[in-house]
């Protein structure tokens, strides 16, 4: 069993057995996070550049923790502190980073395809930590890991993804992953926030949140990404909360043992009410915990693929 690529650019194109390999590996690695000494020597001497062109707290610290728990050396570049603000192109920045001979570049970029571009132009293993509205594969993997822990399997589950689908890379990666693993996905949001043609990716689409949530095993709420909206997609936050917000009454429509997820950061009182976010159905903080083990699994498996192409 191995991954078919030395990069993790997206869930699209990954096979079910690769996804399962990552989740199973994460399960084995999770125990390290419960030890007194949370460190194993596996990636000793490997260097990881965390190159975050877009702001991030959760994902960047989760990657950094995963890298450190595997004993890799880490360097962090962020948009504000990098020569990006001085006008350097992505290719030049990448070449400069590569000159320092890292093994991995974890990149978050505001443009879809940024990580793919790096993969074509550098010899390192590239991990996509979110590229514009395109994909966020490790988020989908940690969501799948969290769901699997609660439900045992992904196959046959009914998952409602509610919110800003249009701007959400989390929604896309989750949609690819969940449908690949045999779950049934319903996307829900205002018509202005549902991308055209998304049905072709295997999702059901509805604009009625009660209908989307009814009987669902998993309710995944997404953040309203005001920073990505060029023109207002809905009149007011209050109206959005009324029509699409996940509250106690709507959770009650879901399956009796349904779990509620959110990739963070949350707009409390808009896409999710505080009582649901903090309630007993919420697994939001577990998602964060699981993120470290899942990212360790990705690093461990990709490290086994580094140099494979060169050697082949």
């Amino acid at each position: 069993m191995r991954l078919r690529s030395p990069h993790l650019l997206g869930i699209d194109g990954m096979q079910a057995d690769e996804i399962e390999l990552i989740l199973d590996t994460a399960e084995s690695l999770e125990e390290i996070g419960t030890r007194e000494i949370k460190k194993v020597p596996t990636l000793r001497g490997k260097t990881v550049v965390n190159f975050f062109v877009e702001p991030s707290t959760r994902t960047r610290s989760s990657f950094e923790l995963a890298e450190k728990r595997l004993s890799a050396d880490t360097i962090n570049f962020s948009a504000s502190s990098s020569s990006f603000v001085k006008g350097e192109t992505l290719l030049d920045t990448a070449r400069n980073l590569e000159s320092m001979a890292p093994d991995f570049i974890v990149i978050r970029h505001s443009q879809a395809g940024g990580p793919h571009f790096l993969a074509r132009h550098t010899a390192c293993s590239i991990i996509n930590a979110g590229d514009g509205p395109h994909e966020h594969p490790t988020q989908a993997l940690l969501d799948a890991y969290t769901i699997r822990k609660h439900k045992g399997t992904l196959k046959g589950l009914r998952v409602a993804i509610v919110g800003d689908i249009l701007n959400s890379r989390v929604a896309r990666s989750n949609l690819f992953l969940l449908t690949r693993m045999g779950a049934k996905v319903t996307l829900c949001g205002p018509p202005t926030l549902i991308p055209l043609g998304i049905r072709q990716c295997g999702a059901e689409v509805t604009h009625d949140v009660d209908q989307a949530v009814a009987g669902a095993d998993v309710v995944m709420t997404l953040r309203i990404q005001l920073e990505r909206m060029r023109s207002p997609a809905f009149p007011t936050n209050r109206e959005y909360a009324k029509l699409y917000g996940i509250n106690r009454d709507r959770v009650a429509l879901a399956a009796p043992d349904a779990i509620v997820m959110h990739p963070g950061p949350m707009n409390r009182g808009v896409e999710i009410t505080g009582d649901v976010a903090d309630g007993n159905r919420s697994v939001i903080l577990e998602q964060v915990t699981n993120g470290v083990a899942v990212r360790m699994a990705v690093l461990y498996l990709l490290a086994g693929e580094i140099g494979r192409e060169a050697a082949a």
Binding site: T25, Y300, A303, R308
Partner: protein, 192 residues
């Protein structure tokens, strides 16, 4: 593969006798099983450890605790080019390692590198009072200064031979085969 190249060096009855003897040796050497635990190295060290635990229970009434160790995160060949990383399985040590007395158990002792990794893995989990090593087969060719405290059978081998341990729990039969054809040992098998 022609049958002539495979020789059975231990059958089910002999394996059982070896484990019975090792169980007695463990008691003889340590007097008491107080605080003693058996830790099997995945994959086939695990059933060997469980069988030893049952043997000890038969002789000594109390069954020692057992744990499972996956050593892949501690291997020294992970950075070798063009080999996919081995599939990880869970390490499960359901007892406090600090102050414990551990008998590490594996099926084959060969280069000693697996045991080196296992010792590092155990030490990361705590500080045992001591660690001893029990193996079903010692085939020689050590590459690091490690020796076993309990050996089921010493088997002189040449470097290009393979020792294949098959156990009911993992392979539906109990036997140890010596494979004489010059098949290059795969990375995952061969009992390093």
């Amino acid at each position: 593969m022609p049958a002539a190249n495979r020789v059975r060096i231990l059958d089910a009855a002999t394996i059982d006798r070896c484990l019975t003897r090792i169980a007695h040796e463990i008691i003889e050497r340590n007097k008491s099983l107080e605080g003693l635990s058996l830790v099997g190295i995945r994959t086939r060290g695990v059933p060997v450890a469980q069988r030893l635990a049952r043997k000890l229970a038969e002789i000594h009434t109390a069954e020692p605790r057992t744990g499972l160790l996956d050593i892949n995160l501690y291997r020294d060949d992970l950075s070798l080019v063009s080999t996919a990383h081995p599939v990880l399985r869970k390490t499960e040590i359901p007892f406090e390692v600090d102050g414990s007395k551990i008998v590490l158990v594996d099926d084959v002792l060969f280069t000693g590198r697996t045991i080196r990794a296992a010792l590092d893995a155990l030490m990361d989990l705590g500080r045992p009072d001591w660690i001893q090593l029990a193996v079903l087969v010692d085939r020689g060719h050590r590459e690091v200064p490690i020796r076993a405290d309990y050996v089921g059978k010493n088997v002189p081998t040449s470097h290009d031979e393979q020792v294949e341990v098959r156990l009911k729990e993992t392979d539906d039969t109990d036997e140890v085969m010596l494979i004489r054809s010059p098949v290059p040992p795969t990375q995952a098998e061969g009992g390093a």
